[in-house]
């Protein structure tokens, strides 16, 4: 076995072990109750319907909330990192992230519209016909993310082909428009404290009070995106010599672009729909995984998924453990870690960047 294959295997094992440990740790530790490992295990078994629930119903409820929280965190981290892996592969740029194609901005706009509807800005009829509001924000977030990405791709593919440069520039322009609309909504609701608080809170990201519904949304998106890996990984590797070169060895470049953008959009959209804006996972994780194991997308995409889950769950676990009740929203933590990290990357790769 080559040294690289050994490194990949080691990396996968470390991620799986860490993920298991962090998952269990997240069940035991929290801002309120502390469970023993035995208790957490019994509660987990009970949740699967294979055993008696914990002695007091409230303890069982708390444990179940933590299970959903941990699962959603895993799903969101994995989905964001996978999306970043696709985007970096497609743009052939280790500093690209899902927000480039409008996923994040679109999700924010969708969620803000949903908050407006729930907050009473829409005719009652609209709210009633949409049936309740618990599902509204994820639904609109997803629609906004997917819609914006579709718009970016559509607008940038004039003349029958989508060049990566025009995709990038269109993404910037559409992101600006979306940010304008988002700011308009915020400004409109400035006096309505509850609504503006809800919109603002969403932009910080949240993993609290998540349910099976949220886990369902994020893991469905993740599964769809992961299902595209076997049909895009080798092709993304071949893209490294340029588009024409990939085409000459038989890669259907047009199909590859659509598939990769679809996979990136669906997984990031699912993540931001359930958890709000959590930046930098999609940038940092695939970048670090590439540094650790090399650049073949066959392993890079799978390990980015695992790595993203470990990264977000680990960051959440660590700050809950260290800060307790003072723990920050996940989006804020990621921005605090991610900003400086991005700067370090820029400085490290200055030589390469100056060649652009």
């Amino acid at each position: 076995m080559s040294s690289n294959a050994r490194r990949v295997r080691l990396c996968a094992v470390v991620f799986v072990v860490l993920l298991g440990a962090l998952f269990f740790g997240s069940l035991c530790f929290g801002t309120t109750v502390r469970f023993s490992t035995g208790e957490a295990w019994r509660g987990l078994i009970a949740l699967l319907g294979l055993g008696e629930p914990l002695e007091t119903a409230s303890r069982q409820t708390i444990l179940e909330l933590r299970v959903w929280r941990a699962l959603v965190t895993i799903g969101v981290g994995a989905a964001l990192a996978l999306s970043g892996g696709y985007i970096q592969g497609l743009f052939q740029n280790g500093l690209a992230s899902p927000s480039l194609i409008g996923v994040t901005g679109g999700a924010a706009l969708g969620a803000a519209v949903a908050v407006l509807i729930v907050g009473g800005y829409a005719p009652r009829l609209v709210l009633e016909s949409l049936g309740g509001n618990a599902y509204l924000i994820p639904l609109f977030g997803f629609a906004g993310a997917f819609g914006t990405t579709a718009l970016v791709v559509y607008l940038s593919s004039g003349g029958g082909r989508t060049s990566v440069t025009s995709l990038l520039l269109t993404g910037i322009a559409v992101n600006m428009c979306v940010a304008g609309l988002f700011a308009a909504i915020q400004s409109l609701t400035l006096e309505n404290w509850e609504v503006s608080r809800a919109i603002l809170a969403w932009t910080f990201g949240t993993l609290d009070d998540r349910s099976g519904y949220h886990a369902g949304v994020v893991f469905s998106g993740l599964a769809l995106a992961a299902a595209c890996i076997p049909f895009t990984a080798v092709e993304l590797d071949l893209l490294k010599g340029g588009e024409a070169d990939a085409q000459s060895v038989g890669v259907d470049v047009k199909r590859l672009k659509w598939l990769a953008i679809f996979a990136a959009a669906v997984s990031a959209a699912a993540a931001v729909a359930v958890a709000g804006q959590i930046a930098f996972v999609g940038l940092v994780v695939p970048h670090l995984v590439r540094l650790a194991i090399g650049a073949s997308h066959r392993v890079l995409l799978w390990l980015s998924m695992l790595g993203g889950a470990v990264f977000l769950l680990g960051a959440e676990f660590a700050q809950r453990w260290l800060l307790g009740d003072a723990a920050l929203q996940p989006g804020v933590v990621m921005a605090l870690i991610g900003g400086p990290f991005f700067l370090v990357l820029l400085v490290r790769e200055r030589k390469e960047i100056s060649a652009w």
Binding site: Q92, V234, D245, Q247, S248, V249, G250, V251, D252, S296
Partner: protein
């Protein structure tokens, strides 16, 4: 002799409206090595890209083994036509063996996993180009000559009937120029066909059976090299500063000559 590749009246215009091809035609038979020559900007590389299906002609047809190139699915097309590019716009950060394995892409199955047979084809292709010793090096570590041989090796691993080669000897020393042309000639001797776009009239003279001359986006003359590499044909195309001679085997020599007339 059955023609493998037939192009008729191919025209192409870039999106800025510049007409790069205005009627280029050719026929390439099985077991033939044909050189495409002509001055800078005469449309040689554009023609090659149209032949390879990388550009879609505005009008005209390109047919390979009886089927139109633009109608072929990409993998099917890659099984029939392999391209050796002049250079890669970006050097992939992969090992030579993995890069050459990229040539097997069109032959891989549904799950895109390389079989031992694919790896054997890669090794054979590398050693036939005298590049077996660099198979575990990174592409970025190679010298210009090694890189060119690896590009040829990948096209060989692609096992396509027709090789389309763009300026294979630019920036190579004489020994490496010969090595690259020899490996292409060997493939042609084995039954494949090769079209080589080149500025090197003397290598074309030694290795090609026919030459096609392009000027201003058109193919203007074609024929056996000793009838094309003559003052009558080349002077109107390249201008008067040429010296004509003969190799010992009788093949024509054409070199730039500052003191002509």
């Amino acid at each position: 002799m059955v023609n493998r590749l037939v192009a008729e009246h191919v025209a192409f215009e870039y999106s800025n409206g510049v007409a790069a091809l205005a009627g280029a035609s050719l026929e390439l038979a099985r077991g033939e090595l044909v050189a495409v020559i002509g001055p800078n900007g005469s449309g040689k590389s554009t023609f090659l890209r149209c032949l390879a299906g990388l550009l879609v002609p505005k009008s005209g047809t390109v047919v390979v083994d009886g089927e139109e190139v633009v109608a072929l699915p990409p993998r099917e097309r890659a099984c029939r036509l392999a391209v050796v590019p002049q250079f890669l716009p970006r050097l992939p950060d992969v090992r030579v063996q993995d890069f050459v394995l990229g040539g097997r892409y069109a032959h891989l199955g549904r799950w895109r996993s390389a079989k031992p047979h694919d790896r054997a084809v890669v090794r054979a292709a590398l050693s036939s180009c005298d590049a077996g010793d660099v198979e575990s090096r990174l592409m970025s570590e190679l010298s210009g000559g090694q890189r060119q041989r690896v590009l040829v090796a990948r096209a060989i691993a692609q096992e396509a009937g027709v090789l389309l080669v763009d300026e294979p000897t630019n920036s190579l020393d004489p020994e490496h120029q010969l090595a690259v042309f020899r490996s292409i000639a060997e493939l042609v001797a084995g039954g494949r066909s090769a079209l080589v776009v080149t500025h090197d009239l003397n290598l074309a003279s030694q290795f090609a059976s026919r030459a096609i001359v392009m000027q201003a986006g058109r193919t203007i003359t074609e024929g056996p090299v000793d009838r094309v590499l003559t003052r009558e044909v080349l002077e109107p195309v390249y201008g008067p500063h040429l010296f004509f001679g003969r190799f010992a085997n009788g093949r024509p020599i054409v070199v730039p000559w500052a003191d002509a007339r």
